[in-house]
């Protein structure tokens, strides 16, 4: 049977049809693009996803309410704190469980560290896609320290499973606060170094500035979220505009793309917004650690065999890849009736087909990297 996706490209003309992926170094996971090219210039790139589909939403309907938590890690394994938090928040909204303040702070701390780690991976792989190998390893080096910290916090380095419905699993270990503060001191210096190494590199800037411009209107229309949306000049951050958890306690700026080196909404804006966001996250972690209130880390009396009365709720959290929304529907039993995760990468993939015409192959790589798509988040 002919694949239906091939209807999207014209195979009867002189152009070349390329299979860009699923095993390609710069698709950031198993994603396939059917690319129609005229030499180096793209006519169109049509994404073909689903290679990493693990039916996590279906799994959510058969595990219990608590049992789904480890599976949410796998939705976005580059920054697994956010699906944790999103799912927990959704269920808390549905059940009315009040999360203790300390637990909310711990959530914010862990999430912001995860955001830094995720952005480091994203920016590193982006610079690698542009051809510079060294910044990526520098990013990975810093991420390693964050992994160590999070490991000390929850025992896992990748799929954290740290948040719980009603709080978090573990309190801070001894000396963790000092270690983290020391890391942040070091990290702020690293950001300057990273900028000097790659962000302001002339070749790098020319590769990204004015490439694949996505206007603010298009970004909203196509449902881009997070740094991709802000890179297009739309000033929106769930943490600031619809605060959840402890975020209304913190002072932080929301970096918005302003055509740092070219046009608003080009690849460089998306890239540099992430760079600035890491600094803001570092500020948030510092504030949260210094203001950390004493108290419980779990809401009292969250039943092990949780039964949730019929209803539905949507939670929004600002993940590293933008707004992550969990939509849960309950029918009064001890299992979710429907769990739905709306992720940033999913909608980011949707814009590639319309943003790709006229780019060069190297620009497509830059576009994919600058949208920071992560395959498990697309397919779930």
């Amino acid at each position: 049977m002919e694949k239906l996706i091939l209807r999207r490209v014209d195979r009867n003309n002189e152009e070349m049809i390329l299979n860009f992926g699923p095993q390609h170094p710069s698709t950031h996971g198993v994603i396939n693009f059917i690319v129609e090219t005229d030499g180096e210039v793209l006519r169109k790139a049509v994404p073909d996803v689903g290679y990493l589909h693990r039916s996590i939403e279906k799994i959510g309907e058969v595990t219990g309410w608590h049992g789904f938590m480890p599976f949410t890690d796998r939705i976005d394994y580059v920054a697994a704190m956010f699906p944790n938090e999103g799912y927990a928040t959704a269920v808390e909204r549905l059940t009315g469980i009040e999360v203790p303040r300390r637990a909310q702070y711990l959530r914010a701390i862990s999430c912001e560290l995860a955001r830094i780690a995720s952005h480091l991976v994203s920016l590193g792989t982006m610079s690698m896609d542009i051809g510079a190998f060294t910044p990526m390893l520098h990013g990975i080096r810093e991420r390693e320290t964050i992994n160590d910290l999070i490991e000390a916090l929850c025992g896992a380095r990748l799929t954290y499973n740290y948040h719980r419905i009603g709080g978090v699993a573990f309190d801070l270990p001894e000396g963790w606060k000092e270690r983290t503060l020391a890391f942040l001191d070091h990290f702020d210096k690293f950001l300057v170094e990273f900028d000097r190494l790659i962000s302001f590199n002339e070749i790098y800037v020319r590769r990204l500035a004015n490439v694949a411009v996505i206007t603010g209107k298009d970004a909203v229309d196509y449902g881009l979220v997070g740094p991709n949306l802000r890179g297009s000049g739309v000033d929106w951050d769930v943490r600031r505009d619809l605060p959840y958890g402890a975020y209304d306690d913190f002072e932080f700026a929301v970096p918005v793309g302003q055509g740092f080196k070219g046009t608003v909404g080009d690849c460089y804006d998306r890239y540099y917004c992430r760079c600035l966001e890491m600094g803001e996250s570092s500020k948030i972690v510092r504030q949260a650690l210094l203001q950390l209130p004493e108290g419980e880390i779990m809401a009292p009396k969250v039943a092990r065999n949780l039964k949730v009365e019929a209803g539905e709720a949507l939670s929004r959290v600002e993940s590293a890849r933008g707004e992550m929304a969990f939509y849960v529907v309950a029918d009064g039993t001890n299992k979710a009736y429907r769990v739905r995760a709306r992720t940033g990468s999913f909608t980011a993939m949707g814009i590639i087909e319309s943003a790709s015409p006229g780019l060069m192959i190297a620009d497509l790589v830059a576009l994919i990297a600058s949208l920071d798509v992560v395959a498990p988040e697309i397919d779930r």
Binding site: M16, L18, H24, P25, S26, G39, E40, S127, M128, D129, I130, G131, A132, F133, T134, L137, H138, R141, T145, A182, F183, H186, K189, F190, V192, E193, R196, L197, I198, N201, I203, Y204, R206, R207, M360, I361, A362, D363, V365
Partner: protein, 453 residues
Amino acid sequence: MPRTPKLPKLSPRAVVLLTLALGLGLPAGLFGAVLVLSPLAQPDFFVRAVLGHDPATWPHAHLVYGLVMALLAFMLINFGAIISGMTVWWEMRVSSRMQSRIGYNRAGAAGFFQWIADAVKLLFKEDLIPAEADGMLFRAAPYFVMTGFALTFVALPFGESLIAADLNVGIFYLTAVTALVVVGILLAGWSSNSKWALFGGMRSAAQVVSYEIPAGIALMVPVLMSGTLSMQGIIRAQGAWPWQWHAFTNPAAAVAFVLFFISQLAEGNRTPFDLPEAESELVAGYLSEYSGFRFALYFLVEFGNLWVMAAISATLFFGGWQVPGVGPEVYAAAKGAGAVPALGWWGLQLLSMVVMVAKTVVVLNVIVWVRWTLPRMRIDQMMNLCWKFLVPSAFVAFVFTLLWQLLVARAPALGLVTGVVLTGAFLVTLILFGRQVKANIAAAGDHVDLTNW
């Protein structure tokens, strides 16, 4: 917060000794072979002086000549292979330090034998030829590349009289045979019957052909300045001290060196011009379908070419093997009257070889730094750079040199003054660069630690 992993303690003494013995012995042996064989390869000299025959009448002269030449060629190919292996090791060590990694540290002291292990591994791998590929061309392509690479060593100078053949069109010969590499790459791209490989091949063709032009014009500048195409002639036209080097006696030659260096990076497919094998865009470009030893040949050539690039730069712009204070009359005096040169002459040859190798290694190091620092350009930017900037600049440098030569002929002091000024400027730049590096390292909360190597 450690910036760079602390390396494990030193390897056992025996391993260190073995590594040192091999690491120094292999190149020293090959250099020695070059040292001995290149004078011997002159039939006139060898047949007449050593064997005691008149080459014009002796029937076996050509046989002997061919034999020695074959031996020298074998040594040079081996030299190319081994030097490219060592370059891999050096590059990996340097890059691992740049990237806060440990890097090679298993096979031999400091992982020195890793390149041997890699080569052996590739040798044992299955030699896959894709079913739909054009088998004959696919098999032939690596030989083109290898031939183009190996032939360069014929005209590459190593010392005062250490050169396989001092062709009177030496530099033309070099540009001609290095162009053979692109034929191999194009063949590889086409015969693989893979779209990625084809992309790589086409990119490489466009890139190498374009960058031949600025490179060719830029190297005309030292040719004009020395009035010869012969490699040895160009070196002899320069002095030993920096202010006598081509790069510093003429402002246009300094520019020409930069142009030549950039073009060489492009011709050698090195970052920021590694588009033909851009792994994040084209998977592996023209290499996509290659495996096993054919792949190893491409790799060997890629890294071996670094040496060629660096050696040509050192020859044309940095005075080649010229040893300070050792002029041609010293060589002549040391040679003595006997048929076989005196021991002192051999020592001088060795010294000139060391100077040449040192200069080459410095340039090579710069290439490695560039590779691990810069991102990759896009194909249109690369073409723009070549046709809009490098080619016109090369022409300007060329014309400037023509006028400059007239000026210098009138006022010879001008050359010396420029030399001293440019050398000074270069030294100041170096010092400022070093201080900036040190300041950057300090700003990142780290310090220079040379013991952690």
